[in-house]
Subunit: 375 residues, 2 copies
């Protein structure tokens, strides 16, 4: 049903490329998963995603639980037919949104009580319920409920947080029944290496189909994040997918892949697009800048995405300023295309054995605003 | 360059089908023109429009004049490459929006002064300027500046309004130089038949490439509108296209075609879509109604548009309630598909000689909510 095979292991780094199989299709890794928060990757159809080369999307359990409700989606055949996406879907546990969006949240060993950000109604999310919801949605990969440890926290808080995450992982694993759905465990422990190590051991001992590194990109410094990534990723089993949750800048992707990560998700490419921020081979650009108002060039002259093939910076600048919905769509297409192409280029470089050289070129180019590379 | 040929004349009504040729392609009539107010048919790409069978779009001179400016668009090669639409474009004169959106507008025989609805800046639109703007945009069909006579008005006001429109038409015709761009005259005169007749004669005497009936659907009763349409359309020359401005409900289209009209435009299908209102073969429906929240059927079970082929009412209801941009896109696709298919079905019925019978079936079905017909 669910399987993962490493196909190429880079000799000079921990980077690897591989293939995840699910009943809804194969996913080539490293992979970036666009976020379809409410059962829709904002402004895009499934056909748009397929034409970009998207192989898996993420949907948010919290949002779909509150609206339209997982039971309703189940009665309509599950999330795949509901949203007309036939490829693989990963659902998160809902925990992250409970902490970031829910009001009056109260965490106990039993679970989390919170009020809906939509209508203030009271809810209680337990490890068992999150599994029940994800099984009803019918995703291909489900996630355990975790506490996404905030930053900064004390050592004692981080310990309790990882222990809670571990206890909930036990209950999620026990509750999970759907054989064709993979279940991933989540590592917590904040920025404390010994807690992270404890968390890895506890979660690994339970045995999951894949392992996710959670609690990153929550405010910690880049150096601290990279240190944790470099320390923890090698501790995870080679034969299972490694998922870096919530990371999705071009730099994050390349750094993470270099350290052995296989899967990424982030709202950044689509949210940035809706705010006029674009990835390019020479760094990020804001379509809002006055200099683009009469610029006949495409966003990124080296890009072959639908948007860059057909529209000028001037037109996109106009659409953005005029508040036209088409702006969000065209800019989202470009940003997703950029990340999807980057993952494809990384896979190719890993297969060819020149990942490390191209990584350096990419970082020099992307962060230095000069060299073109990787995508 | 620009030509119009009637190909079929219905024996039992004034309905006719034909073909308009422009340097950007052919348009089969009767035709519905989706409105791309700011150089974008909201939420849709040109490829979406082509796949719906759209053959001509309308763009608004007022909006593009204020933002991004016609001179900028001209420097970028004109409106066609700017918005990546290679088919025919009709531009309105800007007059209607000056009256409906501009502040502090003041009409004199010279033209109209107004303040921009965007930034309050002062502008003056004259017959000569509207032609200059439309030539710079490079549309295939330009419209004369008119005063869209409000409703209700006194007889004296309607007379002055039609005389002003006539005088401006003289100046527009004189200012117009672009040979490959057609120029249409506009008939005004309110709901007064003798003034409408005077207007027709004055505008026809000037000689235009097509004739538009303006000042309809501005608040008058349906019976009064139909009376004017039935009275005026037969007075227009058979060999030129007849354009019913601002009319675009399914009923308007079929009534107008039955009276000999060839061209229609309206923001209704796309604006209604953004408000959750849909055309169906059994009348209009609101996707907001609670009964659709778990309805697995498509919007219109007999419709073959992309939206109806792939999405349930339940999913569209969810997208709409969740404020997802995809709702506007999918519902706009359905509504435009409905009108475009209706025009195609009307053309076929005219060619086959059964327009009148099908018109009755359509009206019974659409307004009665029972019979399926025409589209």
């Amino acid at each position: 049903m669910f399987s993962f095979n490493v196909e190429h292991q880079d000799a000079q780094s921990a980077a690897r490329s591989g293939r995840i199989s699910t009943i809804h299709g194969e996913i080539r890794t490293p992979v970036f998963m666009p976020v379809g928060t409410q059962g829709s990757v904002k402004a895009l159809t499934p056909e748009d995603l397929l034409s970009l080369g998207v192989e898996i999307i993420l949907a948010n359990t919290y949002h779909l639980f509150l609206r339209p409700g997982h039971e309703r989606i189940a009665r309509l055949g599950g999330l795949h037919p509901f949203m007309h996406w036939q490829g693989p879907i990963l659902t998160d546990s809902g925990g992250y949104q409970v902490y970031s969006l829910g009001a009056l949240r109260k965490i106990s060993s039993e679970g989390v009580s919170f009020r809906s950000h939509l209508d203030g109604s009271n809810h209680f999310l337990s490890p068992e319920l999150t599994i029940q919801i994800q099984e009803a949605l019918g995703s291909d990969i489900a996630m355990c409920l975790d506490e996404c440890t905030p930053y900064p926290v004390t050592y004692d808080y981080a310990r309790l947080s990882h222990e809670l995450t571990r206890d909930w992982a036990v209950r999620c694993k026990k509750a999970h029944q759907k054989k064709e759905q993979a279940l991933f465990g989540i590592i917590q422990g904040g920025t404390f290496k010994d807690l992270r190590k404890e968390s890895v051991e506890a979660i690994m001992n339970l045995g999951f189909d894949g392992y996710a590194l959670g609690g990153l990109s929550v405010g910690e410094e880049k150096a601290a994040r990279q240190e944790i990534m470099a320390y923890i990723l090698p501790l995870l089993p080679d034969e299972k997918p490694r998922y870096l949750m919530g990371l999705g800048t071009p730099e994050d992707l390349i750094e993470g892949v270099g350290l052995g990560a296989d899967m990424f998700d982030c709202v950044l490419p689509t949210r940035n697009a809706r705010n006029g921020m674009l990835f390019t081979r020479r760094g990020s650009m804001s379509i809002k800048r006055a200099e683009y108002a009469e610029d006949a060039q495409p966003v990124d002259p080296d890009c072959t995405c639908y948007t860059c093939r057909n529209y000028s910076r001037a037109y996109l600048s106009h659409l953005y300023k005029a508040g036209e919905m088409l702006a969000a769509r065209l800019l989202s297409i470009h940003n997703l295309s950029f990340l999807i192409n980057q993952t494809r280029a990384m896979r190719e470089a890993i297969a060819r054995g020149n990942f490390r050289q191209r990584k350096k070129l990419f970082i020099d180019g992307y962060l230095g605003g000069s060299v073109k590379s990787f995508v």
